[in-house]
């Protein structure tokens, strides 16, 4: 039966009592005493062949390791051994509250939509260390107009390394009345490094627009590309433009077309317009008009005139087919 995790050999629980100071030879020999508040227990030196037992990692270290784990990973970590299971109990409880929060937020799983109950659940989860719950609680506070409270929660999650928290925090800073671009960039960068797609896009935008830093299209393009490769449609659109103008990326018509199509297929309205127009100029009428119809439906007025030109040249049968395709069109999944 494992004992409470403590440092091997440390029996007094006091942190600093047991570092022995020794005198060194030299002219300035001083007797240095251990602070009187501590006990005079010499530290047991452990035999060098003793292997570290990681099942006795301090609970807070284990909890930190699993701090930003998904539910699935948290379960795996809880099953590693008893002491880890115990160490992660607060996090599991936090996850329970997080789940309840989600149910109240969306009104499913047998409960009615109730933002305040959702917030309550998320706050309980946040109090037990779940960064996921912190971020969701922050979102609700933001919706309720309590921006200070939202910011505090985002900050807490961000400080614990949660990329979504970092991203939201940064965006809050950017949208504030007096934007704090320096802080925003710092957090966007961290979240981007951690692979958070939206953060990568926002970071690229700041670099592109020279917000909080000198404009740097090359680095912006690099991050647009990362976000695009992860499926972020707005980044895909921007990547296409970079290739198209040869800004930040080498000029390439082929790559520009490829990325514009990808963005269009994921439902980016302007991309649908651009892609439709490009198909039109390539002579692909049927395909072009479908995209232009989609763009028109989404509000792109510019699409309407070209679309109508094409439609007039089509037979009734073809027009029906176009509408059928547009009606049944589904966007490919895009990361948010």
């Amino acid at each position: 039966m494992k004992l409470q995790p403590t440092w091997p050999g440390r029996s007094d629980g006091s942190r600093f009592s047991s570092i022995p100071l020794s005198k060194i030879n030299g002219s300035k020999n001083r007797n240095i005493s251990i602070p009187s508040s501590s006990r005079q227990i010499p530290f047991c030196s452990r035999p060098s062949e003793q292997v570290h037992d990681f099942s006795t990692l301090p609970y807070d270290v284990v909890a930190k390791i699993a701090g930003s784990f998904s539910l699935q990973n948290l379960r795996s970590a809880s099953l590693v051994c008893k002491s880890w299971c115990e160490a992660l109990r607060p996090l599991r409880e936090a996850m329970l509250f997080f789940r309840w929060g989600k149910r109240f937020k969306h009104g499913r799983g047998g409960v009615r939509l109730n933002l305040h109950k959702a917030l309550d659940s998320f706050l309980k989860g946040a109090a037990r260390g779940s960064t996921l719950a912190m971020v969701d609680a922050g979102l609700i506070y933001w919706e309720l107009g309590k921006k200070d409270k939202a910011l505090a929660l985002y900050h807490k999650a961000a400080a614990l390394g949660d990329p979504a928290g970092q991203c939201n925090l940064a965006i809050s800073y950017l949208q504030a009345e007096s934007p704090n671009t320096k802080e925003a960039l710092k957090w966007l960068y961290k979240a981007s490094l951690a692979g958070h797609t939206r953060a990568q896009y926002q970071f690229a935008l700041c670099l592109h627009q020279g917000r909080g830093t000198d404009p740097n299209i090359q680095e912006a393009a690099r991050w647009y590309l990362k976000a695009a490769e992860s499926g972020y449609k707005r980044a895909m659109y921007n990547v296409s433009l970079c290739y198209s103008y040869g800004e930040g990326l080498v000029h390439s018509h082929r790559h520009a077309r490829k990325w514009m199509k990808r963005a269009a297929d994921r439902g980016h309205t302007k991309a649908q317009l651009e892609h439709g127009l490009a198909l039109f100029s390539e002579g692909e009428m049927m395909k072009a008009v479908v995209y232009l119809e989609l763009a028109t439906r989404a509000g792109e007025r510019a699409a309407a005139s070209v679309k109508n030109v094409i439609l007039q040249q089509l037979s009734a049968n073809s027009r029906d087919r176009v509408m059928f395709l547009a009606d049944n069109w589904c966007a490919l999944p895009s990361s948010r």
Binding site: I19, N31, I32, S48, H52, P58, L71, R75, M95
Partner: protein
């Protein structure tokens, strides 16, 4: 090794702040560490601050830390302080700030890449003992990345931990929050 039990007052020598502190590891390593770096080890820092004294060259034995780990810790903390200073110096110059950022990014990636799993674990224990917050967070993130999305068996093997659950106990954990462990609803 242990103190001689005498509470001798140390006379503060005016302006005689130590430039380096000698740290000795349990396996006989001796390191002369710059004071600013050593003060990143909170376990040492509060000890110094407790007394409010100025020590001349002092030798401190760190029983929980081995040479290999301490040298890595010193390397990281020294570079971290350098980056901090560079960052501060570059404040206002966007290009320079970005360069420091990228340099730090590169250093940290390389630092963690070179660490074996064993070394990573040992460093966590050492850094947790020495109480170096920034480095601990960095190492914890690195470990989390290595075991994220891995099976229970992998995590056990990674940490060299024996499964001390009985099958019934394992089942119980599964049952306990079974419904909570079904897939999280997408937002």
């Amino acid at each position: 090794m242990a103190d001689d039990g005498v509470n001798t007052k140390v006379e503060a020598v005016s302006k005689a702040t130590t430039e380096t502190i000698e740290l000795r590891t349990e396996d006989g390593g001796v390191f002369d560490v710059d004071k600013p770096v050593a003060m990143e080890f909170l376990i040492l820092k509060s000890f110094y601050e407790d007394e409010g004294r100025v020590f001349d060259k002092t030798s401190i034995r760190l029983p929980n830390v081995k040479q290999l780990e301490l040298s890595k810790v010193i390397e990281y903390c020294t570079r971290a302080l350098e980056f901090g200073a560079k960052s501060a110096a570059a404040a206002g110059d966007k290009d320079a700030e970005r360069m420091v950022r990228q340099e730090r990014e590169g250093f940290e990636a390389e630092f963690v890449d070179e660490l074996s799993n064993e070394m990573l674990k040992e460093l966590i224990l050492a850094v947790n003992f020495l109480d170096i917050k920034e480095m601990l967070d960095f190492l914890i993130r690195s470990v989390a990345n290595r075991i994220r999305n891995r099976s229970v068996a992998y995590v056990r093997q990674f940490f060299d931990i024996e499964n001390d659950f009985t099958p019934q106990e394992e089942d119980q954990i599964h049952q306990e929050n079974a419904w909570a462990f079904e897939g999280v609803d997408a937002d």
